[in-house]
């Protein structure tokens, strides 16, 4: 039985590898498109930031004639003082301000531009520096300096795993989301084409008249869809790794990129998690493909499930790894959390085992379902 299933898998894969378009969209697209997306984002972010730092801003300062502030402001950004309502920014010192007195400062600007947001941050920094300078001047009257008021030296000791500190946190946020999305979408096309597609094309009937057992056919189909799904997820993983490794790509992640790479252990956990999830996903799509009378009908059943996967991916994106063991029983959710833990260097064998047990059990029952459908007349129904 297993040999026949492998024969079907081999034939389907051979057919797939000869189809350059499907091969490109399933495997090479995520590998290429993700680095392009993130490098593109990095280039845009970097250029906006550079431009913001190089621009000379027109600033109107109201209620403060102090040259000291103007000198401080010059240290933070290029600027030019302009008259009333001529500036991009307006800094209003209230309460008849004189240097050293308490006052409210209003910074007025249009925040719809990213460049202005960056400049506003620099102006805010200049105000903090100016305040410190004034405080220092005031304290010097009492032979004190601002440093004398600092009696506590604060040192932050980050106890997070090394992996979490060196880009792992960003990986834990983005990677599981993209991987499960591509894992599921990878199985959608292959799963529907090999079941309801064959049904529509009439080639399934010829296969069923063959000597090969129906159970072998079912397993062959599931294995094929799982392999496609797995490789689609791995291509996504590699695409994101490439994006994070490249200097411009890492800018888009808002981090220093992936330092230190990923060890063999975590890599094995990632692959094992993806295999178990690919089996669940492939089993589900194959069941739906067997029940659907056409690829179109199958697509209409699968699309809501795809939306559920997207929602699960988005909602878990900003969640921390969970200790709730029940979450590791839910397919897709369990894979996301195990991947999060792995990327953050928090290895938990119990969670991994629960995920594997849950996914493999579900995949087994799905395979039994597919097998039962292949052994029934329903598999041939097209009307």
């Amino acid at each position: 039985m297993f040999n026949d299933a492998l024969l079907i898998l081999k034939k389907e894969l051979k057919n797939l590898t000869k189809d350059r378009r499907t091969l490109f969209s399933t495997f090479f697209l995520p590998l290429i498109i993700l680095p392009i997306i993130f490098i593109g984002m990095g280039v845009v972010f970097q250029s906006i930031e550079d431009k913001a730092k190089e621009t000379t801003y027109k600033i109107e300062i109201v209620g403060n004639k102090d040259t000291a502030y103007r000198e401080v402001l010059t240290k933070h950004l290029f600027w030019q003082e302009v008259g009333e309502n001529e500036g991009d920014f307006k800094i209003i010192f209230g309460n008849n301000y004189t240097p050293g007195t308490r006052a409210t400062v209003i910074l007025s600007y249009d925040s719809s531009s990213r460049k202005n947001q960056i400049a506003a941050e620099m102006i805010k920094q200049s105000l903090v520096s100016y305040e410190l300078e004034l405080a220092d001047k005031f304290l010097s009257l009492f032979n004190l300096s601002y440093e004398d008021l600092h009696t506590l030296k604060i040192i932050i000791d980050d106890t997070a795993q090394q992996a979490a500190q060196s880009g792992g946190a960003i990986l834990a946020m983005l990677m599981p989301y993209f991987m499960v999305i591509f894992l599921f979408s990878g199985s959608m096309n292959a799963g529907l084409d090999t079941t309801s597609g064959e049904k529509e094309r009439g080639s399934l009937a010829v296969l069923l008249v063959n000597q090969v057992s129906r159970t072998s056919i079912a397993w062959g189909k599931i294995l094929y869809v799982s392999v496609v799904s797995l490789f689609s997820a791995i291509a996504t993983f590699m695409g994101l790794l490439i994006a994070m490794t490249l200097p411009l790509g890492s800018v888009a992640f808002g981090s220093q990129g992936l330092n230190g790479g990923i060890g063999i252990g975590p890599l094995i956990v990632i692959i094992v998690s993806l295999i178990s999830s690919a089996l669940v996903s492939a089993g589900l799509i194959t069941v739906i493909g067997c029940l659907a009378k056409s690829v179109k009908e199958g697509g209409s059943y699968v699309m809501p499930l795809y939306m559920v996967v997207v929602v699960v991916g988005v909602t878990t994106m900003y969640m921390d790894p969970s200790k709730n063991i029940f979450l590791f029983l839910i397919p897709i959710v369990n894979t996301i959390f195990v991947l999060k833990e792995t990327f953050m260097g928090m290895h938990n064998i119990l969670h991994l085992m629960v995920m594997l047990l849950s996914n493999l059990t579900i995949a087994y029952f799905e395979a039994k379902g597919v097998s039962a459908l292949f052994n029934s007349e329903r598999i041939l129904q097209t009307v």
């Binding site: 051979k14 000869k18 009937a205 008249v209 007349e377």
Partner: protein, 248 residues
């Protein structure tokens, strides 16, 4: 030989039931071509699928070379070559790869697959297309490949559902010649068609189906005489429009 006795097959749809085949009986003997003739929805394909073990009869009995299809489905499948009219081969495999694949699934030896590949290549003039991806073949050549797949196991019983649909004149002739040759070799050929000229030219005996019923069956000359018809077309419309359902 195929023997169908009182075959009934009903499909349970969402809100209704449809009896696709209603108590039909006929026999297709070795060394003859039996044609099931009828419009779309007459029950021809359901009958053929039931014989090919792909559908289970609600009642009645079907035997293929003496084997009951409901209890010996695997042995029956070993004796039949089946081609459905809906079959549209596609994909990037070549006819050679596809025939190898089906041969391996049928647990044939490599030598036997090679031998059959050569025979079918000659029979269906596939030499120039053996290594061309199926997606690039014309519909006629694709249909010939489909037939070659169905005949790979050298079946004694050949069941063809609309075998000449979509074929050009040349390809139709190749299929027709094959059917005649199979008959001469003593094989039992059961085919369904809605092309009256095909039925008239190829079939030794004809069964006319309509709305799940077998209205009449027998050698064409006998049927024409029985109903006083001038030709098959006249007979066909006479039977399906003439209220013959009341008599079945």
């Amino acid at each position: 030989m195929i023997v169908v006795e009182n075959l009934v097959k009903t499909f349970h749809l969402r809100h209704s039931c449809k009896t696709a085949v209603n108590n039909i009986s006929f026999t297709a003997k070795d060394g003859e071509v039996f044609g099931l003739l009828g419009p779309n929805g007459a029950g021809k394909t359901t009958t053929l699928l039931s014989i090919a073990t792909l559908l289970q009869a609600d009642s009645g009995k079907i035997t293929v070379d003496g084997l009951d299809v409901s209890t010996n489905s695997r042995a029956v499948r070993n004796r039949i070559g089946f081609l459905t009219g809906e079959m549209r081969l596609t994909g990037n495999l070549t006819p050679r790869e596809l025939l190898y694949y089906f041969g391996q699934l049928d647990h044939m030896s490599k030598e036997y697959i090679e031998q059959r590949l050569e025979e079918l290549t000659v029979d269906f003039e596939l030499r120039n297309y053996l290594d061309v991806p199926i997606a690039k073949l014309s519909s006629g050549v694709t249909q010939k490949v489909s037939i070659a797949v169905a005949l790979l196991n050298e079946p004694h019983i050949i069941i063809f559902d609309e075998p000449t649909t979509n074929l050009d004149v040349m390809a139709t002739k190749i299929v027709s010649d094959f059917i005649k040759r199979a008959k001469d070799e003593g094989k039992c050929v059961l085919l369904s068609t809605h092309i009256l000229s095909d039925a008239q030219r190829l079939c030794d005996r004809i069964g006319i189906m309509y709305e799940g019923h077998l209205l009449s069956e027998g050698p064409l000359s006998e049927l024409l005489e029985r109903y006083g018809s001038s030709d098959l077309e006249h007979l066909f419309f006479q039977l399906i429009e003439g209220g013959n359902l009341a008599n079945v």
